[in-house]
Symmetry: C2
Subunit: 791 residues, 2 copies
């Protein structure tokens, strides 16, 4: 675990009060700015040093070869990987004849602040050059939510101790060298310099570069322009195929400032011509200059004020979690707000981890949060999936099935997974997409989305399930050979989670088709087909181990040999780096919540007693070698009354990136885990579930939290919920009327009405244990709860 002693705990900011080069790449991810279209990692303005330079445009990728030692039918022969686009955030500074580089001279002050309400990254540095000249550099950077192609920087340098010749070099850099080398030499060759120069242009303080990608055939145009104020300023401009530079010189007396505002606009297209792109980035620059720096900052603030008004989560009593949940919501907003027709990647636009791919966790973790806090982004994200439907249909056909088989990992919709047992076989991604559509429909009504995007997605995924499964001799519907969420099992029969999610997928498809029967001819859906879906759902096989009184994760799971946890030393985690899949797959060992995930999302399939027994059974086996686990364990722990344990898991979820618990925050943030903080709070302690019949709550609080307040959306309404240890207040802030359930009792609210109900104090849940050494860190030392480990 990497700790950042320099990070302060504050309600509305992430602030580093010094600079630690050992965790530079991690802090670049944490300080990344994005709007879902453009992403700028929190690299230092001057470019060097860096952990990992990063400027991304959502949807811009290059094709990479996918090699196999032994090829097989249906293996994708090429994949997609996110690439750095032309980097417009670099501003280099020379003070007299010394380049400003924080590894040289002396740092007197270094502070970075990600302001979650302003939506800007501020930096303040006081630096004494090796020659003894001292300057203060103050920069503010934003990626605009309101002007999606625009990144902007306010860069001010002040001479603190006497006259200084100051040179600012504002750069556009294409094909910036990357620190790590690809293992595959073919991929390395493709990705070393992915941008092919097409045109470059400069005029006054404006530079524009256009590039194309060789394999994916995309065109990328980036332009920058500048406003400069300061004494005796001189400006020069240059452009080259892979570089643009505006050089600003000034001589500053003590106390004098040189200020430069830099506007950078970005565009990419697979179709538009160079002149059209040129005009686009120029036009966008013009708009940004017209707004001006203050305008951009003010629009940004307004946008965020509107967001927080509904989305904010208040966590009194635990300032770390308070900060973490706002940090998380901010990054979720950044990843999704303006993605518009492109995928929301598992790292957002904060790094190149997982090749910039989107996985099922966008639908299962991120979209449920957005459904409550930013519904339009859900419609956009599912609209992107919908736009890839033809590819998914072709993939299903290739695999031998009807319907659509969405990819396990992708940028454009093409399957990019190179290991089919944990890729193609993980068909549950299709149920996740259907589930997200249903969640959105339940929240935002049965309108146009349901009739078009939702209906198409539900029909094609339902068809896939019917093709994947079969009716056995006894008429039960079974799905064999698939891989569920837990990646330490694969190719199992009747994966509990998959079967329950498929059942819901089929039921929802039937319900939505019934509401839009006029589309049946167009979709080719007959009543006979509807009947088959209904029958498959009704007869879905749900494995249950009578002897042990628990649900097996899949047929036969509970009969497997239990992993030798006692004989596994701490340094052999994560297990997948120290043991072959062969051994993991055949034993009872769980990488990440799976039956627990099923209990979280399909709670009505389990009795309360089954939930408690299942939870205790799987806690013993779950090692949490995935960041997609703790939040679900938090939710179900709370559900079964293990509130202290739920709180521990909340803590782990909250700190995954802030404390770099997975040791790879350097490659980008874990967006699904960030979403998991909200999920753990709202589903866990709020006990909120979005059921067919509407929202239900079972509010409780752990000892560490005094008060929890959050907003949720449902059935076109907006609800604010505030929980303390005594009472829970429901406030309908938008919408005419909403009926919810509080601990099983219906509560109807009208606009602006507040209803107060008692907060629950459930009996202590089951006493559970985790594998040795794998208990979550205890969130409150000294509370003496028996689930906590020593570490």
């Amino acid at each position: 675990m990497i700790t950042h002693p320099a990070f302060t705990v504050e309600p509305w900011s992430l602030r580093a009060t010094s600079l630690d080069l050992d965790v530079l790449a991690q802090s670049e991810s944490l300080f990344a700015l994005s709007n879902g279209h453009l992403g700028w990692r929190g690299n230092l303005d001057e470019g060097d040093p860096h952990g990992l330079p990063g400027s991304y445009l959502s949807g811009v990728y290059e094709v990479r070869p996918m090699p196999y030692a032994e090829p097989g039918y249906g293996y994708p022969d090429s994949g997609e990987t996110i690439i750095n686009v032309t980097d417009g955030k670099i501003v280099r500074l020379l003070v007299d004849d010394e380049p400003f580089d924080i590894r040289r001279g002396r740092i007197l002050l270094h502070e970075q602040e990600l302001d979650l309400r302003a939506g800007v990254l501020r930096r303040k540095v006081e630096w004494r050059s090796p020659a003894g000249r001292t300057v203060r550099v103050s920069t503010t950077r934003l990626v605009s939510f309101t002007q999606r192609t625009i990144g902007a920087i306010d860069y001010t340098v002040e001479a603190l101790d006497g006259p200084a010749h100051v040179v600012l070099q504002s750069e556009l850099v294409a094909n910036e060298p990357m620190p790590q080398q690809e293992a595959d030499p073919r991929a390395a060759a493709v990705l070393a310099e992915p941008l092919c120069a097409e045109e470059h242009f400069d005029h006054e303080s404006l530079v524009q570069l256009t590039h194309t990608t060789a394999g994916s055939g995309l065109r990328i145009a980036v332009a920058m322009d500048h406003e400069v104020t300061g004494p005796g300023v001189h400006v020069e401009v240059e452009s080259y195929p892979d570089q643009g530079r505006v050089t600003i010189t000034s001589e500053l007396a003590r106390g004098e400032h040189l200020r430069m505002v830099k506007y950078v606009s970005h565009a990419w297209s697979a179709r538009r011509t160079p002149p059209a792109m040129r005009d686009q980035v120029a036009g966008e620059l013009t708009l940004a200059r017209e707004s001006g720096w203050d305008g951009l900052v003010s629009e940004q603030r307004d946008y965020l004020d509107a967001f927080w008004a509904h989305a904010d989560v208040v966590v009194d009593g635990d300032p770390e979690v308070q900060q973490a949940v706002r940090f998380a919501l901010f990054h979720i907003l950044q990843a999704s707000s303006r993605a518009e027709g492109t995928a929301i990647a598992s790292k957002g636009l904060t790094g190149r981890g997982y090749d910039g791919h989107a996985f099922w966790d966008t639908e299962m973790f991120v979209l449920p949060v957005l459904t409550s806090v930013l519904p339009q982004a859900v419609a956009d994200a599912l609209g992107w999936r919908h736009s890839t439907l033809d590819q998914a249909r072709r993939r299903a056909r290739q695999l031998g099935f009807a319907g659509a088989a969405f990819p396990w990992r992708t940028i454009t919709g093409k399957e990019c997974s190179g290991y089919w047992p944990a890729g193609a076989a993980a068909f549950h991604v299709n149920a996740a997409i259907a589930r997200a559509a249903i969640g959105y429909i339940r929240t935002n009504g049965n309108g146009e989305f349901e009739r078009t995007v939702g209906l198409d997605l539900l029909v094609e995924t339902a068809r896939l399930w019917l093709a994947l499964g079969y009716f056995d001799d006894e008429g039960k519907f079974r799905i064999d050979g698939v891989t569920g969420p837990d990646e330490y099992s694969a190719l199992v029969r009747n994966d509990l989670y998959t079967n329950l999610m498929a059942r819901e997928n089929l039921e929802s498809a039937v319900a939505v088709v019934e509401r839009h029967r006029e589309r049946m001819p167009d979709l080719g859906v007959t009543d006979e087909e509807l009947g088959r879906w209904r029958t498959a759902a009704d007869r879905m096989f749900v494995p249950y181990d009578e002897r042990r009184g628990v649900h097996p994760q899949s047929s036969g799971f509970t009969d497997r040999q239990v992993w030798d946890f006692a004989g596994t030393p701490p340094e052999h985690y994560p297990l997948l780096l120290h043991f072959p899949y062969f051994d993991l797959y055949r034993k009872q060992v769980v990488k990440q919540a799976d039956v627990v995930l099923a209990m979280q999302w399909v709670p009505d399939a389990f009795t309360e007693e089954q939930k408690a027994r299942n939870f205790a059974y799987y806690e013993r086996l779950t090692v949490r070698d995935s960041s997609l686990s703790a939040c679900s364990q938090a939710v179900v722990a709370a559900d079964v009354g293990a509130l202290d344990l739920a709180y521990d898991y909340l803590g782990e979820t909250a700190m995954i990136d802030l404390h770099d618990l997975e040791h790879n925050t350097s490659d980008g943030l874990h967006l699904a885990s960030l979403a998991g903080i909200w999920i753990a709070l709202v589903q866990g302690f709020g006990g909120a579930r979005r059921r067919r019949a509407g929202l239900t709550f079972r509010p409780t609080l752990p000892r560490g939290i005094d008060r929890l307040a959050f907003g949720v959306a449902a059935a076109g309404c907006r609800l604010r919920v505030a929980i303390d240890h005594t009472e829970t207040r429901y406030h309908l802030v938008a919408g005419d009327e909403l009926t919810l359930q509080h601990d099983g009792k219906p509560v109807t609210l009208h606009r602006n009405e507040v209803r107060v109900m008692p907060t629950l104090h459930p009996p202590a849940g089951p006493v559970v244990t985790q594998p040795p050494g794998r208990a979550p860190a205890r969130r409150r030392p000294g509370t003496g709860d028996p689930q906590s480990s020593a570490d």
Copy 2:
């Protein structure tokens, strides 16, 4: 299916009476010469045209990178691939100014004959050059069984119609260009020119080239020398880094001959120095020249006479099968006779298919035949496995297990499989090695081999099984997550074949340790460990489906959905090229004999009734997309009384290479299928089984065979068995006394004694069907047996 109308059916030769360039690569495999150390494909003497040039030395390989789209723990990062060594078989001819090339001018006669008793490949060509000059070229080629490094060629050219200037260019060629390109560019780079020139040397008519390999670090020396007779002969010699050439010119009047005998010696080593290698190849050349051509030919004949005296199988009434079984035994001899410390590859030294790797089928198919016909080769082959024991121990440790885990595919003992579900998980290879050791011990006595090689192999494989499996709640010993022989299933629980073979492995290990208790301290085996092996064997779980009354291939197999055979068109076979593993693995569809293989090799685990029911059950599901299936189906079909069907399967086995049924004979012969002909005849119709208690027979004959005679070895004795439709004669040709069982009745024979017993006429076996279109071709048209398909 490619048919060769030019191939004649003869008892002791394979003869092609014309040359068909479309099947050139296939005929090069069929006409390959080898002694297990050196392999020369049947390339035309003049080198061009060729299907696939091939000169191999057993054990000479290059390292090749093994790429993965998604790497995983324990995946090998490099593999091994057989490479062409310096080619010494090329002799080019110019007639006047025209190069002899069968694509030019006119072929008046072209005949090739592989003489199975002489052990030579003869070729006779009459060729008229484009300029109208006619010559007769007669060549005889051998790879010596008695001088293992020596290949030799007798090349005679005769002027048929007038004076001709004749030039012979006898070549050594290194880094001969290969026709096909590697898909992986890194592998292609490594393998395009795998030989690095080290020294070259020429003197009079001798040339020697030495090369090394970059990755594997091997040194290869090849030398040639010549004897020439003819009118006015002039000889020149040259050598270069990658080429050696001896040029012989002569002017032949009509009817005059030019004869050249070429001797080529080969050596390779990972340790020996260039001077030592130089001396070695020179010394071997000297020995060969001293023997002279006639001496080499005569030694070859003597060697083969001795082999055939015991090994020959007589099949009266079916001349095709008669030819096929001798062709097969000849190639098995060629692959193994002088392998001495190197692996017997699945293609022998007849091609580069499967990268020149050895698999489990060497132990399960080839060694059982060799155990009867060439026992020393079995000791050698298992000695090679024994020499790789340390690598196998390390591999087991890497996978997390005790004992030894032998590789799925390899040249040196290193795991080279790039797809673990059908590689690392196929642990049954270890049982195959143990089984081969036991078979050899039962046949050739409990001597030094048992005490050393056999004991070590049995102990380490027994340890592996104990580490792989576990005792369940009820005390049953289970082995989960492994892949059995049928490659259309993977990662199953309690694979029937694997569990039965592991049981035998454990029992045999106990028995052999008990006979050599003095080695227990050295092996670290305690009585307690022996006890565990015994208990695991006694309690081995053997799955049985009570409801259906059959043995499932693995736990739950018979509950799976049955493959949609009716909906699978013929062009979608082999299935693995048209369907994803995902779908194959989860359904009831069998690539190759698996339960049937278990019934073949562990017959005592099944009642007669179970065998019949199982056979019928799996016939319905078995598509034979592997060449390793028909022979086992033949054996078990005969065992259950389905004699006509057994005969059909014998026919398929017999023709796999001769008729190129798998469409890849061009890459080399299917050694295990060739062994399968012997197995189908001896185990199938002879009903021969090698049990703990000794040899047992249940002789029967199908209608198509009048008489079957073969030799087997057992308990230090040699037995000749001759079966006709009335009686079976047992003749003890070597050894003092042997007790066998004939149809369950003991028969004791003394030296030279002949006993005659009645041949069995079992009741007709079960009526069985194969998947639509997958029945074997009917061997005798018009016999009306219900199992045959229309094709």
